[in-house]
Symmetry: C2
């Protein structure tokens, strides 16, 4: 990390948040709740969603393109709201990027460790997040004796996106995914994909009353606030009413209209507009010394 660069940041700059699509809005929503003074620039990569079935190389390339776009928007920090991108791309982005970056995995792992009583923690996520082993790694850094059991749940994202939030089919699929985790006697379950909190009730029914469900979005916003506080980068007042730039700006790489409909069902703050940008114009190569933290 390059502290000299950080000195160019100021409290008035927005926070950048990105995701493969709409799921990261659950993280943006937590930032809005916990830091109502902050401005947000959100990017959803709807032209290439989903990330959860793609490779580390591809996800890292896409993430670098988005980070370049967000830096152009002069953000003071970046939250990677997507679990898959956090698992695959955070280590590189963190090294290269000239502003502080936070992912959702370490905060989720931390909360799980403070919640568990029997040291048996379950993780559900995309195939990519599970096979990256990132949650297990962070949990073991905090609690080396913990036992971690991970289960990929690839049908949850399409079921959520089809609106089957309360549906016997989603209940049935949740029961199947949960079966082996329950056999392992977990007492804590990390919802390791930003879509999953939207079907929290279904997951809760399948997991049963005795298991604590962890939503990393909440803890990620907390940790981001702490980090910005320590760097004296927290906004200390609401943006002026009537400002020409809205407090929350939403960008996508495709299907701006559909994004907006879905976004308005998740975020109650009223998303006035979302804009399609051409993400292909941004390089997916590693950051050079000049643009990066070098």
């Amino acid at each position: 990390m390059n502290m000299k660069r950080y000195s160019e940041l100021d409290t008035e700059m927005p926070i950048g948040v990105f995701d493969s699509g709409i799921g990261g809005l659950t993280v943006a929503r937590e930032i809005m709740r916990q830091m109502p003074n902050e401005k947000i620039v959100y990017f959803g990569d709807t032209a290439r969603v989903p990330y959860g079935s793609k490779s580390k190389e591809t996800v890292t390339r896409y993430s670098r393109q988005i980070v370049r776009f967000l830096l152009e928007q002069k953000v003071k920090a970046i939250a990677i709201a997507c679990n898959t991108a956090s698992a695959y791309a955070l280590p590189e982005i963190e090294q290269e990027c000239p502003v502080p970056v936070i992912g959702v995995i370490r905060p989720g792992a931390k909360t799980a460790c403070s919640c568990t009583k029997n040291g048996r923690i379950g993780v559900i996520g995309t195939r990519a997040t599970v096979s990256s082993g990132s949650y297990t790694e962070f949990i073991h850094q905090i609690m080396p004796e913990a036992e971690v059991f991970a289960q990929a749940c690839p049908l949850f994202v399409p079921l959520v996106e089809e609106g089957l939030w309360e549906d016997p089919v989603t209940d049935e699929i949740a029961r199947r995914y949960m079966a082996s985790l329950l056999d392992h006697g977990i007492d804590t379950l990390i919802m390791g994909c930003t879509h999953y909190p939207l079907i929290r009730k279904t997951i809760g029914r399948a997991a049963g009353d005795m298991i604590s469900l962890i939503n990393p979005a909440y803890e990620t916003a907390m940790e981001l606030r702490q980090m910005l506080g320590e760097m004296n980068l927290l906004a200390d007042h609401r943006p002026a009413l009537g400002s020409t730039v809205p407090q929350y700006r939403f960008y996508v790489s495709d299907m701006a209209e559909q994004f907006q409909q879905f976004a308005n069902s998740i975020i109650k703050y009223g998303i006035l507009a979302s804009e399609k940008i051409d993400i292909y114009n941004y390089s997916g190569k590693p950051f050079s010394a000049e643009e990066g933290a070098g």
Copy 2:
């Protein structure tokens, strides 16, 4: 179309086939069955799959990149195996491309028209294919009095990719998708997405015995053979054994290994290898007069 350009094509050149991912292998399989002498270069856009929830503009851009890659492989013709890409990008690609191009929608529409007795035709497909209205348009060109009823089935692709080909959950989802089509009294149903023939039995159970299921892959291969025949471009002998270039070559934009596993479950010819190529190196812009049909 530019006949002068076509004169540069010869019978020994391979046929290019592309899809958003793995589904188009059902079309490649039909080409292998019906034209065992032909070489095939297949491209699956696994870095950006699925196309069915994306916009016309994005799908056309991706298709142009792939066509450029296939032209570099010196194909004599291109089959767009993806319904969404056929619906959205074929009109432009057909105009611009210096080799003959075929999609899956017109062949599917033709077969449906020759099958139906009551003139009531159902179409199932991705959201994009359905909202494009392409099947309806082609059906009406052939049979203006036909009534067409379309139903998007966005959960079928993830269910197929998760391997739930014979499963009560897939049966339940199929029943829901089929309900309104059955109310309309259709006697013919086009499986307007290359994944759907893989759950033909499930779709058949939900549709009932009285409805003819149309698989456009079969008719697309037939029409391609006829077109190549008319242009004197059909290969007249099997590629020599021991040739350094395999008869069937498979390329993807991501996850080459997973592609191969799935491909081998669909195609019985033995896919020895699939290679990842960098599709971002190919332009997604319209073809210029020099490279295109001018």
